[in-house]
Symmetry: C2
Subunit: 301 residues, 2 copies
């Protein structure tokens, strides 16, 4: 998986800091997660072929997470898009977007599907051939979901050395990938396990923004390869975190530690902090493998 | 008056080309005209103290002219604005904005007034102490208005030389500015015209985007100091101009010539053109004093 941070600033965009949007490449599919104002401009600046995006997941209806959506949907139309587009987000997202398309007399020529969410429980919302997406109910001032992206287990991998040793025919490769045993021309049966290696370990990514510390979240994201968790504040603003239902760097790291994730990315920083290194320092008291999100930064896991 | 182009690209923002937004400073007031996506980011980049904006005029409800409005309104709230904000635009603009504020549970703490327009005739919509604003009904695919900003005539200007010659007292200055005659201590009546100069000539600015060539527009903008007129296409795309209800550079210049304006600014260029100089060349066949809009460019008139 490859994750590109398009923006990670809290509340409002700044001169050199966009609001939340991320691009996730998973099994060749390009997925957009949140879409703050100016996301389409950021996509262009980073040279991303964003017409490939087929799924967009919006966490909640605060502006810094979705004011760029209507512009992106309109631009897809202007660029002559024909491929379907699926938008997942809180109930009412369809009303907001379609009202604007209607008033602009600019219906999309491509099929635009809205998948509106309102459950307070985690649910499977996309079962793609190569991956799944589940919601992660969060605790914010308005109805909010994080999203958990999980690769499905791929085919078994051909063990080239053993294939050559037994002289297995190329026509058997597909059966081998599917886990089947193989009978050689002389009638000998060779067990699949002898000719193949285990599939690559499926990777997973959890996106959690915006939320107060939520004690049941760790169970839902247990063992993910990478966790993005918002860290709007440092410890000295714990009162603001409580009041605005955001997290501190320590709280984000606590979730990462409880869930035993592979790595933690912090983001959604309040503009009040000029030195972000302290977020790492405070998070490290609970979890070691921590990075900071940054506009344009790529993470591969 | 000082006009700053924040963006002038048609349809969608590009890497280095924002969609329509302009800032007009008139008699010390800061006015925003149209508000494409990312306008607030552009305002920050140009170092403009945008909290001073009290009036916003939206021409029509196509995204490249107003998708940045909701973000700006939200940011004003987050920055603790208390001053009133007046938004002028087509009917339904209030519904779009308030729906989004409601769903975000983020009502503004400042007073937000919507002035919704639906007349097909030019009307006076703002009568400020120092200037007026009238609508300029345009011809586009959806209901669209340009706007005409006119300074009111200022006070008469004191003629310092004559004041000194007659020894007029400082307490008479306000009366002189208002056009009154003055009686000296010795009883002599001095005519106002002898002690003052005419007020500065009021300036005016007409903003016209988006529109097909409209034959009755010239009468409405006759003699303005500066006319901004969209020029989405060059001559070779006249068919597209007709189809999409936009103007060519020549048509924009034709309006300028008919209206005998002081200067013409062209903008709203289609992204298909890499060399914009041809817009000047083609416009010059009808009108000489032509400039091209450009992100960040300032015009003083």
């Amino acid at each position: 998986m490859e994750l590109t941070i398009l923006g990670c600033n809290a509340a409002t965009p700044r001169k050199n800091a966009q609001t939340t949007a991320q691009l996730l490449e998973i099994k060749g599919q390009l997925i957009l997660i949140d879409c703050g104002e100016g996301t389409q401009i950021q996509l262009r600046k980073l040279g991303i072929k964003f017409a490939r995006i087929q799924h967009i997941f919006i966490s909640h209806l605060h502006g810094d997470h979705f004011y760029g959506l209507i512009g992106l949907i309109s631009t897809f139309r202007l660029l002559g898009r024909t491929a379907d587009l699926h938008v997942y987000g809180p109930k009412a997202i369809k009303e907001i977007i379609t009202l604007q398309l209607k008033l602009a007399k600019s219906w999309t020529d491509y099929s635009l599907y809205f998948h509106e969410l309102e459950s307070a429980e985690s649910e499977l919302i996309l079962d793609h051939e190569k991956f799944t997406v589940e919601t992660l109910p969060l605790d914010h001032r308005v109805y909010t979901n994080g999203y958990l992206f999980k690769e499905k287990e791929g085919p078994r991998r051909i063990n080239k050395v053993m294939i050559d040793k037994y002289g297995v025919d190329v026509s058997d490769m597909e059966n081998l990938k599917q886990g089947k045993d193989i009978r050689l021309e002389d009638g000998t049966l060779i067990a699949n396990a002898e000719l193949t290696l285990s599939p690559e370990l499926p990777k997973s990514y959890a996106f959690c923004s915006d939320t107060a510390y939520k004690s049941d979240l760790a169970a839902l994201v247990a063992g993910v390869s990478c966790l993005y968790h918002e860290a709007t504040f440092l410890d000295n603003h714990q009162d603001l975190a409580v009041k605005t239902k955001h997290s501190t760097a320590k709280e984000a790291a606590q979730v990462a530690a409880e869930a035993k994730v592979g790595e933690l990315i912090l983001g959604h920083f309040s503009s009040r902090y000029s030195d972000l290194n302290e977020f790492i320092v405070q998070a490290n008291t609970h979890f070691k493998n921590v990075s900071l999100a940054e506009d344009g930064k790529r993470f591969v896991f």
